[in-house]
Subunit: 391 residues, 2 copies
């Protein structure tokens, strides 16, 4: 990890609206403190983006999402294209008016669903045909169609359509999907029309460091406004993810944002930040919250556990979230009684926890103390690995 010098750039079709300022790189790591400028506001980097798959961060109104400290949210192209449909979102004023979120919004491209809904997806060089998980109707997504949908949705940051495969996998399968993703990125770049959207390319390459490097170089040649690292957090060991980041990030330009897609656990975020990642997203804080698992500095708590029954303490006395105005006993009661407020408050707490973690990481980078901050957090979380809870 090499410290990188500060710098800034403006790029894209609308140079007055989008921009990236690199303020400082940590003295002991590649962690960097930067700002992403968008027409809808600035984002302090590194940042965590809450996931609002269908135009709502599950269980929370957008005021509550903002109160967690979030500056940018994510929505899903595949899911919105099926329900309510991109034409309907457009008719209702595009994503910002639709959701009520006035800050920046990033949409993914549908490429992740090629992996997560693999049994419902048929891939050709032209694109992917999905059989809807709702009603079985067919939905074609090609690079051009993905961009067109994202333009209808009106997000601020749009992602190239890529081909994500399960890991570990056959080298030939990974290589084919990687080079297809490169060809598709070029098609996305040509298809993009809106000058109020910023298009990011996605590096693929599985766990093959050399393939990741080659993919990065090809995409960097195309001069995208930013780069994502995709195809991770899809079944590989955490150590493999970290090794892949070590191979990939140095290939990416220092003056553009870097986004590690779909990651992850709090410890994964810190590992990514240490390697120069600027942006993250994951359903974990909300999905785990809905399932009564909350993050704390002492490790995760399972709120349904009987040990909390008479516990008057909040989850975290330093946390400003609404959940932490209540006792653990009350939160447990809400889950035992299957009250909606349980998932609501646990999601709110977890998102607040992630945002505070990123805010503290930003401060630590500014003070050249990120690695000490990371060590301290990891040692306090030592209670064990945090599970990914499926509902």
């Amino acid at each position: 990890m090499n410290p990188q010098s500060a710098g800034s750039s403006e790029y894209g079709h609308n140079p007055n609206s989008f921009g990236f300022d690199l303020h400082h790189t940590d003295a002991q790591s590649a962690a960097r403190r930067a700002t992403l400028h968008t027409p809808r506001g600035a984002v302090d980097l590194p940042t965590f983006m809450p996931v609002g798959t269908l135009g709502t961060v599950k269980g929370l109104d957008m005021e509550r999402v903002q109160e967690t400290g979030a500056q940018i949210v994510l929505a899903n192209t595949y899911h919105l294209a099926l329900r309510p449909g991109d034409e309907t979102v457009a008719a209702l004023g595009e994503l910002h008016e639709f959701t009520g979120w006035s800050g920046p919004i990033l949409t993914d491209s549908g490429g992740f669903q090629v992996f997560s809904l693999a049994e419902r997806a048929q891939v050709t060089e032209q694109g992917v045909t999905f059989r809807s998980h709702i009603d079985g109707a067919l939905l074609d997504i090609s690079p051009e169609r993905s961009i067109a949908i994202q333009e209808k949705l009106g997000s601020d940051i749009v992602m190239a359509f890529d081909h994500v495969v399960e890991l570990p996998n056959e080298p030939a399968v990974v290589a084919e999907a990687t080079w297809r993703s490169v060809r598709w990125a070029e098609r996305c770049r040509r298809a993009a029309r809106r000058d109020d959207q910023m298009l990011l390319a996605i590096v693929q390459g599985g766990l093959d460091s050399e393939l990741r490097r080659q993919c990065s170089r090809e995409l960097v040649k195309m001069d995208f406004a930013g780069y994502a690292i995709g195809g991770l957090s899809v079944g590989e060991e955490p150590v493999e993810m970290v090794r892949t980041l070590d191979a990939t990030v140095p290939e990416l330009p220092t003056d553009r944002p870097r986004y590690l897609m779909g990651v992850g656990r709090p410890e994964d975020l810190l590992e990514g930040v240490a390697r120069g990642i600027d942006m993250f997203d994951c359903v974990m804080p909300t999905r785990n919250g809905r399932n009564a698992m909350v993050f704390t500095d002492e490790g995760p708590l399972r709120l349904r556990n009987a040990v909390h029954e008479h516990d008057r303490r909040p989850l975290d006395s330093a946390c400003p979230c609404l959940a932490c105005r209540h006792s653990r006993g009350y939160l447990r009661h809400l889950f035992q009684a299957k009250e909606m407020l349980g998932p609501i408050l646990a999601s709110l707490h977890n998102l607040t926890y992630y945002q505070r973690l990123m805010a503290d990481a930003r401060s630590a980078i500014e003070q050249d103390s990120f690695m000490a901050f990371r060590e301290e957090k990891l040692s306090r979380w030592k209670a064990g690995p945090i599970e990914y809870v499926c509902p």
Copy 2:
């Protein structure tokens, strides 16, 4: 309906904490503008109390409940005694600390469940044995036990334990339950120990006006701090409820609050206010909201209806609630996609609608124009009777 003169009273064990001020009675009806003082704050009357059965108004955190304009909330003794148990609520700091609601809280007594869970309830003169609707365990509630539970819960306003029966019903059944309720009210009065709680008696008598009058007189002799009218909204016609109010309310002292339990639809609230009722509660705004039915001045809307798909208008452009910052199309999408935010926003809107209705009613009473206000509302709602939606 006779206009009644203004007056005020202080009563109970702690005269500095509880009190009732009657400010004005409407010139054309018995509608009255009053204030109920409690140690936890004042309540502008007439008022509507959101129902927080298990210590949470379903789907909303207490800040959102407060934002609707609510000044007092209700919680249910039977349900809390079963889950998490009154001892657990006490260990967690009683209802106010437990729920995070710092304003006044009213608890019912469990008497309504003698009706609503009749097949699980065995009634004797001593009390009622319930077979838990959760696990079949037995729960005994007598007048003394109901008061003891409510004292453990730490509510501000506690209700006498009564015997509620289905209507219409055999005269002998209604009479027996009514006189038993009177005897139980006296037992409750003797059992009450806390001087920071206000105990209200509940008038029964079914649809028999003479029985209602007799019951009222017996309870008034016992000098309670306020009087509720119970056993209505249990299957009878609305016109029967109104007739029963006409017989009952004139028997109640003018210097004490009057509470019509479990009522009701917006039109029922206005009928009750016109007859001198001060307090109401009902699950309708939240339960119907969870089921995609929202109240508006043009009558109820069913949000799942396809007509709303592309509608960019809010439910009510004059409504200050969070739901009304969104389009009808977005709210429909949330219900179609089974997103939690649909029930959350619809519940928030409906509670806000009820609170605005009561605030407007209070203003109308102050201006001696309540009957014109009522006529105007009823004519705008003419779309038809509002259904009670069961989940």
